[in-house]
């Protein structure tokens, strides 16, 4: 690129940005384009995403994401922990859907152990996963609307999100980093009044979704900013690894909950919203509809749980910690407790890949065991990581202001991209 400003007047660091852009594959056509750095500290990048944009006037010529600012080496840390100690780490990967991460990891290890989970625990897992989905979509809708300029929606969404966090707090004692699922079942019995609390939330939720839609769906500014923006064709969605709501908004009728059921999802009746439009608007419609479907699943789960009794953990004393009462009165339980805590439990050698449908798409855990009490390798296939690859395709040729709308619509969480 030809120097526009005399070199001595350049702000220190600009050359680095340009050199960086070249390294990321931005060629620079020379005369008309310029390089713009967006992030990592930028209010609309939803975390520490850095984009190196090449723009020609207001139009995007090329776009390269630069990630890794939140890389904490979780995969490496997992290799030094016992299997049960990995669960709290999984919360921190995608901090908007900790329960989904817990579930994927626990299912993977349970598959390695060939462990059967009691039905009641499975239904509670499904219930909490769907509450998590609503919660995650509420954060997405709030921040997405705020990026576009509709601040009111953000406040309303966070009002309902508070209710979901109270549900998490009631069951696990934690609002965000729940670690409620354990290998072999759940950590605790849900508290008294749990059913009523969730039902109250589910009763208000459909009306609240109507309220958001009232504010947004017919809003001419909202429509103007969303419709026809960030188009992704179904072929590109498959080729670039896009899953979840963005893929379904592009017409790909695929939902792991329905198509490759796990954790007893086959017992629930729900629709999978699909749109063929493929733009930011379609992603908005699909996600809002998904919230309504999640409410339906939660209701079914609560009805199934009504009057159901039984354990919430599998009958596997060498894997699941005994309850406190048993531990204090029975010698054998005390020994098991001591052994699990101090030396973990061996997991038969093998490798498994367990995928679940997270609010953002396909989240897969690849766990390799060498027969010891620590996982040999844990790898997470995170939906945001793949979806980010499609960002350039969606933004190319569009206006700079649309980038903000598109980032909001793919709903990325940088914690799970960088891990």
């Amino acid at each position: 690129m030809a120097p526009i400003v005399a070199p001595e007047l350049l702000i220190p660091g600009v050359e680095d940005v340009v050199a960086d852009a070249r390294r990321h594959g931005n060629e620079g056509t020379g005369e008309h384009s310029m390089v713009l750095n967006m992030g990592p500290q930028h209010p609309s990048t939803h975390g520490v995403l850095r984009l190196v944009l090449e723009i020609d006037g207001e139009a995007i010529v090329s776009l390269a994401p630069d990630i890794g600012y939140l890389h904490t080496g979780i995969e490496k840390t997992c290799e030094a922990k016992f299997y049960q100690q990995v669960v709290p780490l999984t919360d921190r990967i995608d901090y908007l859907c900790p329960m989904t991460n817990n579930l994927a990891y626990c299912l993977a290890v349970e598959k390695l152990l060939d462990l059967e989970i009691p039905e009641r625990a499975q239904i509670l897992r499904v219930l909490l996963n769907e509450v998590t989905r609503i919660q995650s979509h509420l954060v997405w809708l709030g921040t997405h609307a705020m990026d576009i300029g509709a601040l009111t929606v953000f406040l309303y969404c966070f009002r309902e999100r508070e209710e979901t966090l109270r549900i998490f707090e009631a069951v696990s004692g934690q609002r965000m980093m729940t670690s409620y699922f354990r290998i072999g079942g759940l950590a605790l019995e849900p508290p008294m009044g749990f059913d009523e609390q969730v039902r109250n939330f589910l009763d208000i939720m459909p009306a609240r979704i109507d309220q958001y839609e009232n504010l947004l769906t017919g809003n001419p500014i909202w429509m103007g900013r969303l419709k026809g923006v960030g188009y992704l064709s179904p072929e590109d969605a498959i080729a670039l690894g896009v899953t979840g709501p963005p893929a379904r908004a592009s017409g790909i009728d695929w939902d792991l909950r329905r198509d490759m059921p796990y954790c007893g999802y086959e017992k629930f009746k729900f629709d999978v919203p699909v749109s063929t439009v493929g733009d930011v608007w379609a992603r908005y419609v699909v996600r809002v509809q998904e919230m309504r479907e999640s409410v339906k699943i939660c209701r079914q789960a609560l009805d199934m749980l009504q009057g159901m009794t039984g354990p919430i953990v599998a009958d596997a004393p060498k894997i699941v910690l005994p309850n406190r009462e048993q531990m204090k009165t029975q010698m054998e339980s005390l020994i098991h407790h001591f052994k699990i805590v101090t030396e973990g439990f061996g997991v038969p050698a093998g490798e498994v890949y367990q995928a679940v449908e997270s609010p953002r798409g396909e989240m897969g855990y690849y766990v390799v065991s060498d027969g010891t009490a620590k996982p040999y390798r844990v790898h997470m296939r995170n939906p945001s990581f793949a979806t980010l690859q499609a960002l350039e395709t969606m933004c190319k040729g569009r206006l700079l202001a649309d980038v903000v709308a598109v980032i909001g619509s793919i709903d990325i969480v940088l914690g799970e991209i960088d891990r």
Binding site: E75, I238, V352, E362, F385
Partner: protein, 163 residues
């Protein structure tokens, strides 16, 4: 510890027990080893034939590339194992392709020609394991800083202290 339930180990056992499986059929020539364990099909192919294997399973209906990652079996040889996960939306089945890599030559062909979505995943494997992918459009570090020395997910990379 032995596996708690029967698994099919070996190419002959797998192709004998599930001859109709589309992935087994498609890779009848290319497979060097196969395994069916915990309801998951794993097919090992030679390093040179991974792109051909990807194209073959793609033709057989496995349309969506999910993931590629590596496992370091240090100090065993072959040291690295690349695991590709591919799912079929129409068959509702998954297949895992495995490539073994000797530490003498840590290069594998890139499968970005078959699935462009492998781009970031291969960069991640390069970044954290130091495995090169021949034919990748831009193989640079993705998580770690560009001047970082060493490959953190290798088993001989220290977890604490000075490197």
């Amino acid at each position: 510890m032995a596996a708690p339930f029967p698994a099919l180990v070996g190419k002959a056992a797998v192709s004998g027990a599930m001859p109709e499986n589309p992935a087994v059929k498609a890779l009848a020539e290319l497979a060097t080893d196969a395994k069916f364990d915990r309801n998951e099909l794993t097919i090992t192919v030679a390093r040179e034939s991974i792109v051909a294997a990807c194209e073959a399973v793609k033709t057989a209906g496995y349309n969506f590339f999910e993931d590629v990652t590596a496992v370091d079996w240090y100090p065993q040889e072959p040291r690295f194992q690349l695991s590709y996960h591919i799912v079929s939306y129409s068959l509702k089945q998954r297949v895992r392709l495995v490539v073994q890599l000797d530490s003498a030559d840590l290069t594998a062909p890139s499968i970005t020609s078959a699935w462009p979505s492998a781009n970031f995943y291969e960069r991640e494997v390069f970044d954290l394991f130091g495995i090169h992918f021949a034919g990748h459009p831009g193989l640079t570090r993705i998580m770690m800083p560009e001047d970082w020395e060493g490959y953190p997910l290798r088993k001989d990379y220290p977890v604490e202290g000075y490197r």
